[in-house]
Amino acid sequence: MGGIYIKNKWLPYLLILPTIILICVFKIYPIFDSIIQGFSSSDSGFTLDNYKLLFADKTFWNSLKVTLKFNLIIIPVQIIVAFIMAMFVNVKVRGIEIFRTVFYLPFCISLTISTVIWQMMLNVNNGVVNSMLGVLGIKPIGFLIDKKWALLSIVLISSWRGCAYWMMFILAGLKGVDSAVYEAAKIDGSGFFNTLFRVTIPMLKNTLLFVLVANTTANFLLFAPMQIATDGGPQGSTNVLMYEAYKSAFKYSNRPRQACLVTILLVIVMTVCVVQNKLMTEKEA
């Protein structure tokens, strides 16, 4: 249906109107209010001082680095794992419905609670993971208190729950692919990977673009696990921009700083999404 663009004078506006009004009142207006805060001085004039202060702050640069590193790891990990999970539960074997249900379960546990549970499991004092490693003769690892491990542990905690979620969308897309297409590919003697890259992924283009954009947004804006499990530490190694923004607003009551951080995040997320969009549509051509 992507191809049809029909002209109609009033119908599209009528269809969009309720959504757009609600979005403008409850999302766009507050967003612009925030962006403007970042450029406002204390007497409400235009200023770049807030940005200058931010750029002079080492904490910001560290945060930016951590944010990029975190997303560079977590976005591919989540999408690939979710894709593999979706492929598996799309296989027709006996009892697959049960597996599919089980794989959804992590998403039903709220992020807060799942972080607390993982925090216990990853505890350096003989938490379950370290106990298992102990059996293999590996010394306890400070998953959440060692700066070499903390960020990866946060990736693990978030992905445990996240992969279940993204799997759901990919599965919905996979189910949309006509099985006749696979049959045809099979008859042509196409191998597994050939089918995957030549048939499945191109057919899933729209779904994958959605998952990419939604996943990118979600992960750039994620900070609850860091807030609960590491408080941004050890040594600032999990202090993402969004957590910095949160602290600026609610711990420092420094709204201009928060506004700057959020604006920068918005620019990053938009850029990444535009690039993703370009890449996905280029593939088509």
Binding site: Y5, I20, I28, P30, S34, F88, F107
Partner: protein, 282 residues
């Protein structure tokens, strides 16, 4: 190796992977379940170092579940959250799918601008806009009402985007055929698009459900009275300044996880049917 052997080896391999993923998926949940069946003392006494006692309660008790329902009237936040969630799903699916339909099917002036507004709207986190949003809700007299939790959540750019991406996959021939037959647009939307898009609607519904079900900060700000308090707020009430009732938290979290599972199991089959599978059939 014969073909049949090959097939059964492949099957066995699939099961091995599936079982591995199952363990990874449910182990932490079992942890939560086991913790919810303990006393606080038992929990901290046996959690570390890890042993079989960390997983299986020494003296299992359902006291935590009883207390949260009797002393803390946990059914009330469950009902409140269901009201908020279901209302949001109904309006959210309807409005966002209409918008998604318009964006996919029509060409109109200002489309690009409106489309970017939709995209931007979900690229900023809630925490970043909480303060101005609260002013808006306050001036609309939405503080301390169900409406305050529902209305701002109805139009969700991400849900609209989901509809757009999935509607794009509907074969144009279907719509064309209906137009040739002289069907009006509302009829096309209701009778052609909607029926074959059930999996998308279910996915969108699930998305909205989980957003609302787990939403914390907004209800915290706009729904204070006990009468309309939601589930995550109710759970958070178990953590005090000086001590945290961990076992109540685990018990209530289990309850809050079980409800979405029960509600969504019946919808599972729509994922199996698939999107265009329906269109081919119907």
């Amino acid at each position: 190796m014969t073909l049949r052997q090959k097939a059964s080896v492949k099957k066995a391999a699939i099961y091995v992977v599936l079982i591995f993923m199952t363990v990874a998926s449910i182990f932490p949940i079992l942890f939560c379940l086991s913790a919810s069946l303990r006393t606080q003392d038992d929990l901290f006494r046996n959690m570390f170092p890890f042993s079989i006692k960390s997983l299986i309660p020494v003296a299992p008790t359902i006291q935590n579940y009883i207390i949260i329902f009797t002393d803390y009237a946990f059914w009330r936040p469950i009902m409140n959250t269901l009201i908020v969630t279901i209302a949001t799903i109904i309006f959210g699916c309807l409005l966002n799918s209409m918008a998604g339909f318009a964006f996919t099917c029509f060409d109109f002036k200002g489309k690009k601008v409106l489309y970017s507004l939709v995209l931007i709207s979900f690229m900023v986190p809630f925490e970043a806009i909480a303060i101005p949003l609260y002013s808006v809700a306050n001036s609309l007299h939405m503080v301390d009402t169900y409406a305050g939790m529902i209305i701002p959540a109805i139009a969700d750019g991400l849900v609209t985007f989901l509809f757009i991406q999935f509607f794009k996959d509907i074969p144009p021939s279907l719509v064309e055929a209906a137009r040739v037959d002289g069907a009006k647009w509302p009829v096309i939307f209701a009778k052609v698009i909607m029926p074959i898009s059930i999996p998308v609607f279910v996915t969108a519904g699930l998305m909205i459900f989980m957003n609302q079900w787990n939403s914390y900060m907004w209800p915290l700000l706009v729904a204070r009275s006990k009468e309309i308090r939601t589930i995550q707020i109710a759970i958070s009430q178990f953590s005090g300044e000086r001590s945290i009732q961990w076992t109540y938290i685990y018990a209530s979290s289990m309850i809050s996880a079980i409800i979405p599972i029960c509600l969504f199991l019946p919808f599972q089959k729509y994922f199996v049917e698939g999107i265009t599978a329906g269109s081919v059939k119907g």
